[in-house]
Symmetry: C2
Subunit: 328 residues, 2 copies
């Protein structure tokens, strides 16, 4: 298997934590190759593809990818395109990663627009539900939502081995009559049997925001604007609750004693929902594996993203998507 | 002050819990009047407006309001219109309450569409942020979002006494360049100084899903589709976390002992975010006070909704809205 190209320069803790994470993956036997400025990366036993430029977290995605042709992000995407790597991982500028992967790897036939498939934090402990699109495409057509449904179903099976992924359309009510003009137009397209047969998916109709973390759906389809709002709303709620809990846990001697006793029971819950354990979102629809990690990624997060990229390359996600999209 | 008309027949626990809640309000000295079937309401010392029909929770809103002219919901809205009540409260069919209030009370001049203003559960303990529109209008124009901003600002001051409400536009990023076609078109309208001067509001630009429960904004403006998804996403996350916590609290003898010690510290957090404490959302933009409570409302929830309706009538929310919207 070809190595996973890791953008050593992207992320809040780059390059130190990124390189450390890549090393952890290499120690497990996963082949990795770093991409970035050799002098910044420093001493390492890992192979390095030299790239002289860095795209900052807040740079304009399209412009930076067009002008910084020797940036680590662009060179990482080219490594996948040129057959030097089987996939890429970046914790850098999300928009730029999306643009670099799309422009350099190119889209799979039938993919109007690639989308971000994000695993949701399952407090219940079950297999993560997939939200697609979680932010790549703000302005969508019904046909794009139908494409996301198809790609999400293939991804759900490739990633989690779900044979018959239950696909839901995110709306403001469960009834088929509910929805925005966009979701109402997408509903009949998702109801068609052809794509469900091609992907093994089962369209279960509209789902609501409260279903995102539930056990009744595997893939939630939405446009990138709504997906971004939904994802950040639930992340914000989780943070607000955890902050309030930590405050309560430290509010008296008695509470501190209670929290101490609860620690062993709470640790698995923390571990399960820690973003570092998940390793990031996948950009699906391009001719290569591309994992996009949080900007704040630790070495552990990068390790998990490299593992995920390696697994998706091994299960041939791109081949599966290509086959599923060629059936029209 | 005229009484608050309480729809005795609306809600999962109607009429028993609704009547009990109305009685609690009356016991506090708030004048209330029940609306519904006298035989179902039974023995009560409260005044009753007889209404022979009931609109069920799952009936089509427009059709049911048009055909059931002697329903408790329609009669409650008429009581406000006819000057028999200063406001109404219903835990029944939300869409029907919206339709009945709009058709019977009529809209305030300048209000293209009334909107639902929902207080968000603040785990931090601060004054609730207001989400508007939380679900009444799925398909919105930029002008409607500008109207919601204006009404939300007036409501925030009337309800919580916030002199300079900070109004944010819900989007997929903070930068002004981020957004859907709808929010990008609304942004310049919200940036205008005229409405901010008329309402005392301060437009702070785009906000994200993670800001909904934070302390940096008072009023979050969005269309009813996105608002519904955002609200249910955060409610769903809160429920998933609480369920997981309760499971952890009961997972061993040690954990149960710890939970027991933590109970006094957790109780205020529970109380603060219990939907029953909030009492429901307000329909703003009609010529009358209309509080819409959860279908699952307990007697305490109804008490709090009647209190809220009474306060909004006393502060003359409708007059304040009328004045703020008459400045164009």
């Amino acid at each position: 298997m070809l190595p996973i190209a890791v953008d050593a320069m992207g992320g809040d803790h780059a390059p130190a934590h990124i390189v450390a994470g890549a090393q952890l993956a290499a120690d497990e036997g996963i082949p990795v190759i770093l991409v970035g400025q050799p002098e910044a990366i420093g001493e390492t036993s890992l192979e390095v593809i030299a790239a002289s430029e860095v795209i900052a977290m807040d740079e304009d995605p399209t412009k930076s990818v067009r002008t910084k042709k020797d940036s680590s992000l662009v060179r990482a995407a080219e490594a996948v395109r040129d057959g030097r790597a089987s996939g890429m991982v970046s914790a850098g500028n999300t928009g730029a990663a999306l643009t670099a992967a799309t422009l350099r790897m190119k889209r799979i036939k039938g993919v109007g627009r690639p989308a971000i498939a994000t695993p949701l934090p399952m407090f219940s402990g079950g297999t993560p539900n997939i939200l697609i699109d979680a932010g790549a495409n703000v302005d969508c057509t019904p046909e794009l939502l139908a494409l996301f449904a198809r790609m999400g179903a293939v991804y759900s099976r490739a990633k989690y081995g779900i044979e018959t992924p239950r696909v839901g359309l995110l709306s403001n009510g469960e009834e088929a009559s509910k929805g925005s003009p966009l979701t109402k137009a997408a509903f009949p397209l998702l109801s068609e049997s052809g794509w469900q047969q091609a992907t093994g998916a089962n369209f279960i109709g509209n789902v609501e925001g409260r279903d995102l973390l539930g056990d009744d759906v595997d893939v939630i389809v939405t446009d990138g604007f709504t997906g971004n709002v939904a994802l950040k709303s639930l992340e914000g709620a989780a943070k607000a609750i955890v902050d309030a809990l930590l405050g309560a846990f430290d509010s008296s001697d008695e509470a501190r004693q209670g929290a101490q006793l609860l620690l062993p029971a709470l640790a698995p819950l923390y571990e399960r929902t820690n973003p570092d354990s998940v390793g990031g979102a996948a950009l699906v629809g391009v001719k290569g594996v591309c994992m996009i990690s949080h900007g704040s990624s630790s070495a552990t997060a990068i390790l998990n993203a490299v593992r995920a990229a390696h697994e998706l390359a091994e299960t041939d996600l791109v081949g599966q998507l290509t086959a599923a999209l060629a059936t029209d």
